[in-house]
Amino acid sequence: MQFFLEVLIGGLLSGIMYSLVALGFVLIYKASGVFNFAQGAMVYFAALTTVGLVDSGMSLWLAILLTMVAMVVLGLLTEKIVLRPLVAQHEITLFMATIGLTFFVEGLAQAIWGANVRALDLGIEDVPLEWLLESANIAVSQFDLIASGIAAALVILLAIFFSKTKIGRALRAVADDHQAALSIGIPLQHIWAIVWAVAGFVALVAGLLWGARNGVQFALTFVALKALPVLILGGFTSVPGAILGGLIIGASEKLAEVYIGPHVGGGIEGWFPYVLALLFLLVRPEGLFGEKIIRRI
């Protein structure tokens, strides 16, 4: 039982970090209908830039600040150079453009900072919490706990931003109907610029947390791919869906790896979330909280 709890908690904590990556996807999809495949590359770019700056002798906070600026610039440029000329194209075309962007950003990151694996130290130690280990004999990593705390705080912050501020309301209006939003005077381009900047910020946080946990390496982009089943489970347009989906995926993949994995040769973590999401889709094609798909001719 203790072991089960340990695995479950570990899974849930990493699940929150999946949600964090998934959140970046949801933000952009909600506001502009673009499925931004490059979110993973942005996570990688952010982590690599921070580490690169720290390694060249900068203090951590300054590096994070500079990376933040870089991410906002990257987001704005993407919006201006890639997406604006493609306005009103089919959404599959936009999706493919973001795949192109993925390659570009990954190449850019590696061209600037090199492809080596680097370690990122945020000053949080990855040790089991002592009081929990003593009282309940469950090992929960302190780092995971703090990381998911940060992730949760960010999620709450974004939720407030979306529901309470003027910009947030404008964002939701744009997400609902571009035309209607334009006609009541919401500047569409500003809104998209803001969304891309926010997505860049989310990518930075995700990149820092994942980078510190697993090392900053190319495999980070695969972590971002894991956000896809999270999105499928939760629905592409739902922030709560992204969070709950992340928790389900995180917990189930760890449990499956520990309890089913040994019987089939292990390593099932790589595909289990996808198959789970796939099976789920057969039952509920719009995800847990996605908008009900109504199709007309």
Binding site: Q89, F95, G100, F103, E106, G107, A115, G265, L281, P285
Partner: protein, 363 residues
């Protein structure tokens, strides 16, 4: 002037339903085939073309073109976005390997066809979700195919014949007592297979099967209403597409890599083939060849270019950087193509034909 179909009348139904109804097209295709089957071999015999041309350019180009054709049937004609192409190729390669290994006297073409059929069966299974979901949901779901199949091929020892290293040498390609073991003969073998399959595809997309795919692509609800059965149509698209990818995968392993290994069929390969479809032209048979040629040639040009820079100007790039730059150029090109010409190189060719029709009197 040069490309004008005026005056070419069709008097019979047979003439009317030819694959290439325009005389210039027929002539062009015959010319290309003659160049590929006779011209290039002659150049090779004369010693002008080195083995490198075959192993690094022509053979991979043809194999990728076939895989692109497969994906184009699914994505371009039937409108189902897939990110699992490499997995279907892997199924084709491993199935062919096992048929060759376990059945004595299995003809290699038979093994390839059976391998393609296995890929088609797997394609049908993983195409089932497409009946319920579409668009991005489907794209994300096909990632399941990619990761799951590669995992199965790595973990289940039977597929790799319990080879500990996971890298198996592919059997020799033998037909009628002749062994295709030189780069040149492998090229001819691949060329023959690709030619036949490309012509079949070209024919297929204009039959009722192809039309039903396009109807589903353009609006599946409307297609359903006018009487196309979505299940049959979509699954058939998955099956045919996977068959093409499977055969391409078998060729990839046998004629190009020379080994059969799961790592050869990574997600990266899936993306690469998707790019070939986009750059070549979504929903175009000819475009598949353009796209494959483009993606195969770009890295070679880049390498030559950086090599040239190094030799003349003396600016050498570390190998790590040049591969990153290759990625950047790839990405930038894709974005560029989508913005400038969302219909790909095939569309440029179309525009060229329009111009030729009027040339040299544009009014």
């Amino acid at each position: 002037m040069l490309y004008r179909e005026a005056g070419q009348f069709k008097a019979t139904y047979v003439e009317d339903s030819e694959i290439f109804p325009i005389r210039q097209d027929k002539f062009g295709i015959a010319l290309i085939l003659a160049a590929a089957f006779v011209g290039i071999p002659l150049l090779s015999v004369a010693g002008i073309l080195a083995d490198y041309t075959f192993t690094a350019i022509l053979t991979p180009f043809l194999i990728f073109a076939l895989a692109t054709l497969g994906l184009n049937i699914l994505t371009g004609y039937a409108g189902q976005l897939s990110l699992g192409t490499a997995a279907f190729m892997a199924v084709g390669a491993f199935a062919s390997y096992n048929f060759m290994l376990r059945i004595d006297g299995m003809p290699i073409l038979g093994a390839f066809i059976l391998g393609g059929l296995c890929a088609a069966a797997v394609g049908i299974v993983f195409g089932l979700p497409s009946l319920r979901i579409r668009g991005f949901y489907l794209a994300a779901a096909t990632l399941a195919t990619q990761f799951f199949i590669v995992w199965v091929l790595t973990k289940v020892g039977w597929f790799t014949n319990y080879n500990s290293s996971g890298v198996i040498t592919a059997q020799k390609i033998e037909m009628f007592g002749y062994t295709f073991d030189t780069a040149f003969s492998k090229y001819l073998f691949v060329l023959s297979v690709v030619t036949v399959m490309a012509l079949l595809a070209k024919n297929m997309v204009r039959t009722n099967v192809g039309r039903s795919w396009m109807a589903i692509r353009d609006m599946d609800m409307a297609a359903e209403v006018i009487g196309f059965r979505p299940m049959r149509t979509k699954l058939l698209a998955f099956a045919v597409s996977s068959f093409y990818c499977g055969v391409a995968g078998a060729l990839f392993a046998y004629a190009y890599l020379g080994t059969v290994e799961p790592e050869g069929f990574s997600l990266d390969l899936s993306f690469r083939i998707l790019f070939m479809v986009i750059i070549g032209g979504v929903g175009s048979i000819l475009g598949s060849f353009f796209g494959a040629a483009f993606i195969v040639l770009v890295p070679i040009f880049l390498n030559t270019f950086t090599g040239f820079l190094e030799n003349t100007v003396g600016i050498g790039l570390p190998s790590g950087i040049s591969s990153s730059i290759e990625l950047m150029v790839f990405g930038a090109l894709i974005i560029f193509f989508l913005i400038v010409e969302p219909h790909g190189l095939a569309r440029l060719w179309q525009i060229g034909k329009e111009k030729l029709r009027l040339w040299p009197f544009p009014h």
